[in-house]
């Protein structure tokens, strides 16, 4: 199976817009929304059958039992994440390291410490079925930070229903940190959606460098390329220098917002400027990834 992830470094360049169209165009695949901080793929594919829904437990969190606590202040002194202040645990700051529990000097008659690490659901993962295809996604509970681990979980869930699909399409998150690293690990192909602006170029270079740490073959798509021809040219020069293929240039098209707001992928209106280019990108991808069953 070939795996394709869509990333961008900078947010809002059009990752999801492109991803949902590629999902719509392709066959014989499974897909996942790994932007667990701000998942939007589901907004386009609402009419699904939920196959599996489970609470997601990240790392355990600290819970304090004041009936046992002797107010010695040891946990507060040792916690490096400032998650305990004036004897009260702020669960939003707890990273789950377990130092407080380990060094808590008191126990009750059943041997339980005054501060303990306990399970705390930090989100929900879901596997859904759309026609005959599997769609894995998740929601992170507000105030939880373990999103890199959750990305790995979403990918694992997708493969757990694996039959013999030819392709997996993964919508990634912005940035270059842990969720992005978790979505790049072990992936063969990556599309970087770049925007012709000073910020878009700066961020594209950083995500390109990040992807170099992995054995991932990258392609660049320039979105809204006609908003700034000079910056588009700059992206083309950088791509040439770094030996990355620009696999498509999508024009600015007002109908994109309109059709997306209707909850549909852009390619559902195949005659628009943007849809034509995306169809062209998909045809090139089939060739580059050597997909035979599309």
């Amino acid at each position: 199976m070939k795996q394709l992830v869509i990333l961008s470094g900078k947010g809002g360049t059009g990752k999801t817009t492109l991803a949902v169209s590629l999902i719509k165009l392709s066959k014989n695949k499974m897909f996942a929304d790994c932007d667990v901080d701000a998942p939007n793929v589901k907004l386009i594919f609402e009419d699904t059958e939920i196959l599996e829904e489970k609470p997601y437990f990240g790392l355990k969190k600290a819970f304090k039992y004041d009936d046992i606590c002797i107010d010695c202040g040891k946990c507060e002194e040792l916690c490096r994440f400032n998650a305990i202040k004036d004897g009260v645990v702020n669960i939003n700051y707890c990273e789950g390291c377990g130092v407080c529990e380990r060094f808590c000097p008191v126990t009750d008659d059943q041997g339980r410490k005054a501060i303990r690490m306990e399970d705390d659901s930090s989100g929900t993962t879901r596997v859904e079925k759309l026609n005959n295809e599997f769609f894995s996604n998740a929601n992170l509970k507000i105030g939880n930070g373990a999103s890199g681990k959750l990305v790995t979980e979403v990918r694992k869930n997708m493969y757990s229903f694996k039959t013999n699909e030819e392709l997996a399409i993964i919508d990634g998150s912005p940035g270059i940190g842990c969720p992005v690293i978790a979505s790049l690990t072990g992936i063969g192909y990556c599309i970087l959606v770049a925007e012709p602006s000073i910020s878009g170029i700066h961020d594209m270079i950083r995500i390109l460098e990040t992807s170099r740490n992995f054995n991932t073959k990258c392609f660049i798509v320039i979105n809204k390329y006609d908003n700034n021809f000079e910056k588009t040219k700059e992206i083309e020069d950088i791509a040439k220098e770094k030996n990355v293929e620009i696999i498509g240039k999508i024009p600015f098209d007002k109908s994109v917002v309109k059709i997306t707001n209707e909850g549909k992928p852009v390619v559902d209106n195949p005659d628009t400027k943007a849809a034509k280019e995306i169809i062209d990108i998909w045809n090139k991808l089939k060739n580059r990834l050597d997909l035979k069953n599309q």
């Binding site: 809002g12 701000a38 939880n144």
Partner: protein
Amino acid sequence: MKISVLSGKGGTGKTFLSVNLAQVASNSVYIDCDVEEPNGNLFLKAKDSKIENVDVPVPVFDQEKCTGCKECVDFCEFNALAYVGGKIKIFKELCHSCGGCTLLCPEKAIKEVNRNIGKVEVGTSGNIKVKTGELNIGEATGVPIIEKLLEDMDYSKNNIVDCPPGSSCQVMESIKGSDYALLVIEPTKFGVHNINLVYELVKIFDIPYGAVINKDMGDSKIAEEFCLKNNIKLLDKIPYDEEIGKLNSNGHIVARESKRFEGIFKEIFDKIKVEAISKKVLDKIEEEVKQ
């Protein structure tokens, strides 16, 4: 005062709003907490910058003292330690610097050394003090850099904090102790869905909030309805404008180039100030009444 600018979704105009608010506010400090992809300085182009490295402690092992009891390996929740071939191996990128292994080692075979993960740059752009954090490529978390950026905040100044996208740990670290949260909404189905996540977050953190709709193309009903339904004060709508988009994409600060936009941002900033201060006064009155 600390004003945090956030949106959940990326690319809605957080940096656009932040640099322009810093431009029109007096006595302002612009702080870029989007340390994975910091962009504010591409616009502000700060001069006389001083760079400070950001290091985090990681364990090193005295292999002579280590008896291979593996207590540290079993304790580490982040899988940053492994016992391979009679030796402890550390995966530095996975270490959260909790200090647990060093504290519990029965042989005192572990000590901590500093490891660089990024930097903080402080300079000036006109009358604006500019603080930028940058995470090294390949690193997993920028939280320690954000801590460093915000540690010595002068609340007598107008601090504008440009937050990362999303709603997880780095965003939470950025908005701690804010006097006001400015929610930047892109009037699309995606934009509204994602603003809901940060709206929930600022409520948990008990921060006063208001919203600005950016890239208004005349059809922002979806965003306006969201604000109305949740009783979020809508401070302004910034129109989509090709010329502004062009200036911005070339790294210009719109409020420096256009009198009209300087006026728009001034008005937004004044509204934020009134909102944040009136919330403070209300809180104080409430406290006095209680006493």
